[in-house]
């Protein structure tokens, strides 16, 4: 079970009570899985900052794998590869739009 380094940026760090942590995840776990684990670990206020409604992530939440933009379905730790460092951030007032 790989361990990842996790950076909780901006208000998420305050809500979690820590800005950096480590987390063990299943092989093939996705960004969404990590967010779900975090919501369970840090409680309802943190979960509300992540999820717009049950199972639906806020549109203004961004996750990064090794500083690169990540989609919710992206795997973060795959066999034979070094697990990515994950950073999670809320970006209100964003201008979206990308292929």
């Amino acid at each position: 079970m790989p361990e990842i380094r996790l950076r909780l940026m901006g208000p998420l760090g305050r809500l979690a009570g820590e800005r950096e942590t480590r987390l063990r995840v299943d092989e093939g776990a996705t960004v969404r899985d990590v967010l779900t684990l975090l919501a369970a670990r840090y409680g309802p206020e943190f979960a509300a900052a992540i999820f717009r409604a049950p199972g639906e992530v806020h549109t203004h939440l961004r996750a990064f794998l090794d500083e690169q933009d990540a989609e919710l379905g992206d795997p973060i730790a795959r066999e034979g590869r070094t697990p990515a460092a994950v950073a999670v951030l809320i970006v209100p007032g964003f201008e979206g739009g990308s292929r």
């Binding site: 950076r7 940026m9 901006g10 208000p11 760090g13 305050r14 206020e45 509300a48 717009r52 409604a53 639906e56 806020h58 549109t59 203004h60 961004r62 990064f64 500083e67 690169q68 933009d69 950073a87 951030l89 809320i90 970006v91 209100p92 007032g93 964003f94 201008e95 979206g96 739009g97 990308s98 292929r99």
Partner: protein
């Protein structure tokens, strides 16, 4: 040796941000013109833009950092400014912010102006990196957009809308001045509107005052303030129920009109997927809304589905509007019933439902009518239903983002031909309803978040339809924060250029809220009434001395609609900053490093600015503002077109495509004519509000619009027999330009700028003479003084005032004592805010006396 050059840049005297050329001789700016190379203005420039030279060279500019020595704060209180060094100033700001950041970042309150949009991205990125959700635009949204921009986003994936000037045949403006006033792409819109009128487009303006748009329209329809929904709903009733006109294909394919509604008002959903069901007349049974080949979706009838009797949402809409007869609407709005019927008939007829047109080889729907709403209809407690009701006019005849209709600007962009960037388009979201492709407010219009116990100063979490809330500066903010158990209070305010004393509501209330904030830092170019509450003033570079790679907040906020060109300009210094002035964007980046939030800031910048490939910021590396601008431009337009290229050329342009402008026909997205989501929102929000002791009225959460009275409509005391409202004077932008001597001179020559417009017959009946000093008083005892101007161009029940003049600061010698501060008549509290989107009501009952 004389140097003589023209430098391409961008105006900053309103959020229209027209492209300009600055003539500089021997490092002195001598003239400003419009830049014909850019679609944003197309070489035209308004009086404000030309007068920018006087703002640059204002002898009262702040040139050095200033520290307050007088601990007492109040209106008219001299702060006792002491000049300090930048190092001293930044040390103090860093110390204050570090304490707050370590304690609770939410204690930082960020305030910015809507006048200069250049700071929007840096301030929002700073706020996100710092970790505070408490940010607002000092009255922006409360007055001008919590409703209009929400509806624009829900229906057009756009911040705002205009008629398709090139093809529209009949435009009805409800409290809007697109093409006739200041604001979004004003100079381009002015030419487009004039060309449309010359071509034959009819313009009808519904407004309490015949000013900028009405005076040039075919018809002015005077209306009592805040009653636009009554008029629009009666028009919809006539169109649907008397005339029997609607665009069935559009409604079935592009809206939720065919969605089946059960007895509980909610969608009847597919048991397996939870998706809303529609009735397929061809198949003879209910299917999911997204079933392929669903071309025969019923808009009428009643059906037994999933054990309940269900009807299409369109049936409910038609039934709902039957109660809003023209006679009913006349009693509320004062618009004669015969006029309402005629306008409805003209709108329905000119819509030419079923017609098509070929553009660029593509056959497209042709609906040459548009109902346009903005500040006038939206500046009320009932802004959501006002704008919703008006938008239904476009929706029922299918005149939304099709040729000739109401166009959002600009929800679809497929990018520069060489890079395909910037790229965005709306997509289908929960229940098939549209999600905007890009946006500029704190959250998207849709999908709507579940309401939650509020934890921000604006109480926004409980009101997910709103952008900003009055509790940022309301008389009852402490009471409301206590009710909801807000676990912190603002300790530091970072202000950019806003003068919230004038821009929010009555200045006494705002002053009380500011005086409670222990430390206020303000970036300013001159000292204003707001400065009287600041602890530190930092001398900002003006828009003619600063750099910005995205001055138009591309392209959703401020870019021409319709076919033509895309243009991405930059802003660059045309002269170097004088004195110790610094660009606020550069100062914020310096603070980022001092505060140790560089990783956060760079991560936000990568996302917010869409930095791409080798142009992304490494999280741990420091970058200057200029480097970030360069990387943003290269991310969009390729490595060869960075900041150096843009400094030389000023702007890049390329042609728009039919698929971008008339996107509705090409994209499979729906919009809601029935707001089923309000039912769930109400169910979840109400218990939270009630638990905190907040009154709640379910009527604001009906899925179909109705006219809801503003507080001014409920005043019983007959002595208050006038409705007061303010309008945006084209000569000015917010309170910012009153100090410009050229614009002041123009205002003194203008009979309206600095006066109180009162209907002449009403004035004579009251024994008032033109030019006579008068006092206006609200039921709450708020008073303003000014000179009355008797005119035929204002509704007999109303007084209209150009906002926001009436400065009193000694540091503004040109502006001081000129005009009337209308906002001083406005209450800022829960009772005057919308319980659905937090809009502030900006009409007020008044009495007038010599």
């Amino acid at each position: 040796m004389t140097t003589d050059q023209w430098i391409a840049s961008t105006c900053g005297l309103c959020y229209g941000t027209c492209s300009i050329r600055a003539h500089v001789v021997d490092d002195v700016l001598v003239k400003i013109e419009g830049n014909p190379e850019s679609a944003i203005g197309r070489g035209r420039l308004c009086g404000k833009g030309v007068a920018g030279i006087m703002t640059l060279y204002d002898p009262n500019r702040v040139n050095v950092p200033l520290r307050r020595t007088n601990p007492v704060k109040g209106k008219g209180v001299d702060p006792g400014w002491r000049e300090i060094s930048w190092d001293e100033a930044l040390d103090e700001v860093t110390a204050r912010l570090t304490k707050v950041h370590d304690d609770d970042p939410r204690k930082l309150f960020i305030q910015r102006t809507t006048t200069n949009t250049a700071i929007r991205a840096p301030m929002m990125m700073f706020a996100a990196a710092f970790g505070t959700p408490n940010s607002w635009a000092a009255g922006g949204g409360l007055h001008c957009g919590n409703g209009a921009h929400l509806i624009g986003g829900l229906y057009h994936a756009s911040w705002s809308l205009v008629p398709d000037f090139k093809h529209c045949r009949l435009a009805i403006y409800f409290g809007a001045s697109k093409g006739h006033g200041a604001g979004h792409v004003s100079c381009t819109n002015m030419q487009d509107a004039a060309d449309a009128r010359a071509r034959g487009m009819r313009l009808v303006v519904v407004d309490p005052m015949a000013n900028f748009a009405s005076a040039k329209a075919n018809e002015w329809v005077p209306i009592r303030p805040g009653t636009d929904a009554a008029l629009a709903l009666a028009m919809v009733d006539v169109i649907l129920n008397d005339l029997g006109v609607w665009d069935a294909e559009y409604l079935a394919q592009k809206t939720n009109a065919p969605y089946l509604i059960g007895p509980d008002g909610c969608y009847v959903r597919d048991a397996e997927t939870g998706k809303p069901l529609v009735w397929d007349a061809a198949r003879g049974h209910a299917v999911r809304y997204d079933t392929p080949d669903g071309a025969a979706l019923a808009l009428e009838g009643a059906y037994d589905v999933a054990g309940v009797r269900a009807r299409p949402a369109f049936v409910l809409l038609r039934e709902h509007v039957r109660q809003f007869s023209p006679e009913w609407a006349e009693r509320i709005s004062t618009v004669p019933a015969a006029t309402i019927r005629r306008l409805a008939r003209e709108f329905a007829t000119e819509a030419m439902v079923g017609s098509t047109i070929v553009l660029d080889g593509k056959r497209l729907p042709y609906r040459p009518v548009a109902a346009i709403y903005f500040r006038g209809s939206q500046g009320h407690k009932n802004s959501v239903y006002n704008c919703f009701a008006i938008e239904l006019l476009n929706q029922v005849v299918g005149a939304a983002d099709v040729v000739g209709g109401a166009l959002g600007f600009n929800p679809v962009c497929y990018g520069h031909p060489e890079t395909g960037k910037p790229w965005y388009e709306p997509k289908s979201g929960p229940d098939g309803l549209m999600i905007t492709g890009t946006w500029v407010a704190p959250h998207l219009p849709y999908p709507i978040s579940d309401p939650k116990h509020p934890s921000t100063m604006s109480l926004g979490g409980l009101f997910p339809l709103g952008m900003f809330g009055p509790t940022m500066a309301s008389s009852d903010q402490e009471e409301l924060w206590t009710k909801f158990g807000l676990p912190y209070r603002p300790e530091v305010m970072l202000n950019y250029g806003a003068n919230s004393l004038l821009s929010v509501g009555n200045s006494d209330t705002v002053a009380e809220t500011l005086a409670r904030i222990p430390f206020i830092v303000s970036f300013d170019i001159t000292l204003t009434e707001f400065s009287e509450f600041a602890d530190l003033v930092l001398p900002d570079a003006s828009y003619l001395e600063a750099l910005d790679s995205r001055p138009n907040v591309p392209f959703i906020f401020n870019h021409p609609a319709g076919l033509g060109a895309w243009s991405w300009p930059v802003r660059q210094p045309v002269v170097p900053p004088a004195g110790q002035r610094r660009s606020a964007a550069e100062v914020l980046i310096a603070l980022v490093d001092r505060l140790g939030i560089r990783e956060e800031f760079n991560a936000v910048a990568n996302t917010h600015l869409k930095l791409d490939g080798p142009h992304r910021l490494e999280f741990g590396t420091p970058y200057r503002h200029e480097e970030i601008c360069d990387r943003e431009l290269k991310s969009h337009f390729g490595a060869a077109r960075g900041l150096a290229w843009f400094k030389e050329h000023g702007v890049i342009s390329w042609p728009k495509r039919v698929e971008e402008v008339y996107w509705r026909a090409f994209l499979d997205v729906r919009v809601p004519v029935y707001w089923e989501f309000l039912i769930g929102l109400n169910r979840k929000a109400k218990p939270i509000a009630n638990a905190a002791g907040l009154d709640w009225d379910d009527a604001w959460y009906d899925p179909l619009p109705r006219w809801m009275p503003c507080p001014s409509h409920e005043v019983q005391d007959g002595a208050f027999d006038l409705w007061g409202f303010y309008y945006r004077d084209t000569l000015h932008t917010n309170s910012f330009t009153n100090e410009n001597p050229w614009l002041d001179e123009a205002s003194r020559l203008d009979p309206f700028s600095y006066t109180i417009a009162l209907n002449a017959a009403t004035g004579r009946r009251k024994g008032l003479r033109d030019g006579q000093p008068v006092t206006l008083e609200s039921p709450h005892g708020r008073r303003v003084r000014g000179r009355v101007h008797l005119t035929e161009t204002v509704h007999p029940e109303c007084v209209g005032i150009g906002g926001c003049a009436g400065h009193w600061a000694k540091t503004l010698p040109i502006a001081r004592g000129k005009g009337v501060m209308f906002n001083d008549l406005l209450e800022v509290d829960w009772a005057h805010g919308s319980p659905v989107n937090l809009n502030l009501d900006t009409c007020v009952k008044l009495r007038i006396a010599p």
